[in-house]
Symmetry: C2
Subunit: 415 residues, 2 copies
C-alpha cells in the first residue's frame, strides 16, 4: 500500500516549466467553417484580409445637402449664401447627378456623395424655400463626408488568427461581407471526479460522503474556455475502473480532466495508472493550492489530474488546463482573464517560499480607488471563498508575501 508513495512527487516543477513542457507537446486543432453570426466566442482560424473598402464609397455622415465647400465660404446666419436644389439622393440609392457651383443636392446620412460635391452641410444649418437653399455656415472641404476606405482599406488585415470572436468582431466581419468564416474545432473534453466519498447531487447524502461539485464546476469552466464536454462522470476509487475510464475516454477526447486521486494517499491510483498506460510529463507543481497536480499524455490525449479540493481544482484549471485548451484552439491569448490593478488592503505573508501562491480577493471601489481585500479562508475545499471573491492575486515564489497598500494585479475569475 505504501509503495504508491514511491512514485509520488519528490521534486516540484515550477508552473512556468510545467507549462513549457506541456505546450511543446500540443498541436493545433483543425478548422471548420461556420456562419459568422453564429461565431460568438469561437476562435478565428485564419487571418482575415478585407476584400473591400469600408465605407465602400464616399458617403454622407449627415442629413443635409451635398454642396461645394467654396460655395459656403463666408456664409453666416447674418450673411446667408443661396444655392439651388437640383435633386435628392436617398440612402441606398446612387445618382448620376453632377453638381456644379451654385447647386446643392439633398442627401441622407449614408447616401453616396454625388460627383462634384466636396462637403455636406447639415440640414440644421440651412433653410429651404422654393428650391432655394440658404446656407448659414461656412465649411472646409471634406466636412461631413466619410470617404471610401476611411475605416478600412481594401487589402488590410483586419483580424488575426486566434482572436476570440465577440459581437464587435462579428460586426466587422459582416460589414465586409464575410457570411462564413473558419474557426478552430472545439476540443473534446472528458471530466471525471474520482472518490468513494462522492455522491451525485439529487441523491440522499450518507454519513462520511459529500456531494460532487467538481464535475459541474470543471465542465462549465471547459465551456467558458472553448472546449466541449463529452463526458462528465463520478468514478469510485477503484484502480481497474479508473484505468478503464482513462483508456475509454482517451479514444474520443483530446483532454481528460480528473479531480481527486492524484496525490500520494493510499487510494490515489491515477499516478500509477498514467505511468502504466502513458507518460507522466509533470507530477507536482510548486503552487498553492494545487501542488499535487499531475499532467500526463496517453497517445494524443492529454490527461490532467487535479486535486480533489474544489478551490485547488479551480486554480489548477485556470493556470494549466484552461491555457491548454486555448493553446489547442490557437488563441493568441492563453489566459483570457481580465487583469485589474488594485491596492492591497492588508499585509499578506506566505508560509513557505518557493511556491506560487494564489490569494483570493474581493474588490471594492472606494474614492476612485480599487481595493483588493483578501478573503479569509480556511482551506482549499471552501467553495464559498470563490463565490465571495472576484479574482486571484498571484504571489510569486521568491516573495515572502505582499504588503498593505501594495499595487497588485488581480486576475478576475473567468466569465
Amino acid at each position: 500500500m505504501e509503495k504508491l508513495r514511491k512514485i509520488g512527487f519528490s521534486k516540484l516543477t515550477s508552473l512556468e516549466d510545467a507549462l513549457a513542457k506541456l505546450f511543446s507537446r500540443l498541436t493545433l486543432n483543425d478548422l471548420e467553417e461556420i456562419e459568422t453570426q453564429d461565431a460568438l466566442n469561437r476562435v478565428l482560424g485564419e487571418n482575415v484580409i478585407s476584400e473591400m473598402n469600408i465605407p465602400p464609397f464616399d458617403r454622407s455622415a449627415m442629413d443635409g445637402y451635398a454642396v461645394i465647400a467654396e460655395d459656403t465660404f463666408g456664409a453666416s446666419p447674418k450673411n446667408t449664401k443661396k444655392i439651388k436644389l437640383i435633386g435628392t439622393i436617398e440612402i441606398g440609392e446612387t445618382s448620376n447627378l453632377i453638381l456644379n457651383h451654385g447647386e446643392g443636392i439633398r442627401i441622407s446620412t449614408g447616401a453616396p456623395i454625388p460627383i462634384g460635391a466636396n462637403v455636406v452641410i447639415k440640414i440644421e444649418d440651412t433653410e429651404i424655400e422654393n428650391n432655394e437653399i440658404s446656407l448659414y455656415t461656412a465649411l472646409a472641404p471634406r466636412r461631413n463626408i466619410s470617404y471610401a476606405g476611411e475605416d478600412i482599406n481594401q487589402g488590410t488585415q483586419i483580424l488575426n488568427r486566434g482572436t476570440v470572436l465577440k459581437p464587435e468582431h462579428i460586426a466587422l466581419l459582416s460589414s465586409l461581407g464575410f457570411v462564413k468564416i473558419k474557426v478552430s474545432i472545439k476540443p473534446k473534453v472528458s471530466v471525471f471526479a474520482s472518490g468513494d466519498e462522492l455522491i451525485e447531487p439529487g441523491n440522499v447524502i450518507e454519513p462520511g460522503k459529500i456531494y460532487n461539485s467538481n464535475t459541474p464546476m470543471i465542465s462549465n469552466l471547459v465551456k467558458i474556455y472553448g472546449g466541449i464536454v463529452v463526458r462528465g462522470e463520478t468514478v469510485k476509487d477503484d484502480k481497474d475502473v479508473i484505468k478503464k475510464k482513462v483508456i475509454e475516454a482517451s479514444n474520443d477526447s483530446q483532454v481528460l480532466i480528473f479531480t481527486g486521486g492524484t496525490s500520494v494517499g493510499t487510494k490515489d491510483y491515477l499516478p500509477e495508472i498514467i505511468h502504466e498506460t502513458g507518460d507522466v510529463l509533470v507530477h507536482g507543481i510548486a503552487m498553492r493550492p494545487g501542488s499535487p497536480v499531475l499532467i500526463g499524455v496517453l497517445n494524443e490525449t492529454f490527461i490532467f489530474c487535479l486535486p480533489g479540493t474544489p478551490v485547488a481544482a479551480y486554480v489548477c484549471f485556470l493556470q494549466i488546463v484552461g491555457p491548454t485548451l486555448k493553446k489547442i484552439l490557437g488563441c493568441t491569448t492563453l489566459d483570457p482573464r481580465t487583469k485589474v490593478l488594485a491596492n492591497l488592503k492588508k499585509d499578506v505573508p506566505v508560509s513557505s517560499l518557493g511556491f506560487l501562491h494564489h490569494l483570493r480577493v474581493k474588490l471594492e471601489i472606494k474614492e476612485n480607488q480599487i481595493i483588493a481585500n483578501p478573503v479569509k479562508l480556511k482551506g482549499s475545499g471552501v467553495i464559498s471563498s470563490l463565490t465571495e471573491s472576484d479574482g486571484i492575486v498571484e504571489i510569486l515564489p521568491h516573495l515572502e508575501g505582499l504588503k498593505k497598500e501594495e499595487k497588485v494585479f488581480v486576475k478576475l475569475f473567468p466569465k
Copy 2:
C-alpha cells in the same frame, strides 16, 4: 416629407432620466426550473439557503493519522512520541472506532474524524513500523481538521436572487445537493436593421449599398446579456413594411430592437410608427454617440430604436438595451461590464457640453500601470474603432473633457 421632423426630438433627456422612466415600466420575468449543471450564465431566480453544513461532518484536511493533540505535545524529530495504530478510515467511509490516548488511526484527506481525535498529524511528520507510529511534531488541537459547517452553516443564505451563475456558483450549489434550481426565463428579443442601403452578407454588394452588420452584432450582444433572439432581419425603409414588422414581432417578443430609421431624416419612419401604435417613452438622449435613440412601448413589448451607425448602436445597447434585459431577468447588477482603473494617456476635450460622451480606449500595461489610450476615430460608423479598443470611458455631461494622466474608469466591452 418634412413634417416628420416635427415629431423629432426637440429636447434631449439625460440617460439617467431615460432609464428611470423605462425601468419604472418593466416587470420581472417568470422563473423556470433547470438542471444546476446547465445553469451557466443564467440568472438565479430565488435566494438559496443551505439545507446542510459544508463540510457535512468533521473531516481530515490531510493524509495522516487522527490522534489526540495532547499525545503529540513535546514531539520533535529528536524526541519522537510513539502511539499505536488501531485502524484506518478511508475517504467515503465511516468508522465506529473510538480513539483513546496513545492511539492513532490512519486517515485519508476528506475522511471523517473518528470520535476521540482532535487533530490530524500529516503522514510526512510520522514514521510507522509494526503498527507503532512515531510522531515527529507537536500540534495544537484542531489542526488539519475541517469542522462541520466551517465553510457553510445550515440555514445560511448562500446565493442571492439575481446572481448570474458562473462555474463557482454552480459548484457551490452542487456541493449543497441542489440538482435543479430556478432561473429567470430568458427574454425573447427580435432584432431588425432598417435601411434601403443594407445588403445581407453573402450577396454581391451594389453601388451605394453596404453590408448589414448591425443584426449580427446586436443579436450576439443580446445573447451575452441573457436574452434569446427569436428574429434577426433586415427591413426596407418602407413605412407599411416596418409597421407590420413592429406589430408582428410585438406579439411574440418582449423586446424589439431596431437599428436605423430613428432620427429625423426623410425615411426615418420609426418614430411615427411607434406614435401611431404605442407610446414613445423617450426620444432623444443627451449622449454621444447615440442621441437619436427612441424608447417606446407597445402593449407589453419594449421597442428600442437605435441609430444605424454601428458604434452608436453598440453604445446604446450597452447603456440602455442591455441593462433593460438584465432588469427583466432580475439581475442584481444591471451593467455587467468590468470596470478597470487606468491613467488617461492624453487630453480629451469634448466639443459640446451637456452630453454624456463615450470615449473608446485601448489599454496598455506599462511599468505596473494601466494606461488608457484614446482610439482615434472618424465617426460612429467605424466598427474597427471597436475591435481596436478594449472599452469605454464615460465623460460626464458637465465636463469639458478629461486631462492627460487623469485616473479614469474604463468599462470593458462585455464578454
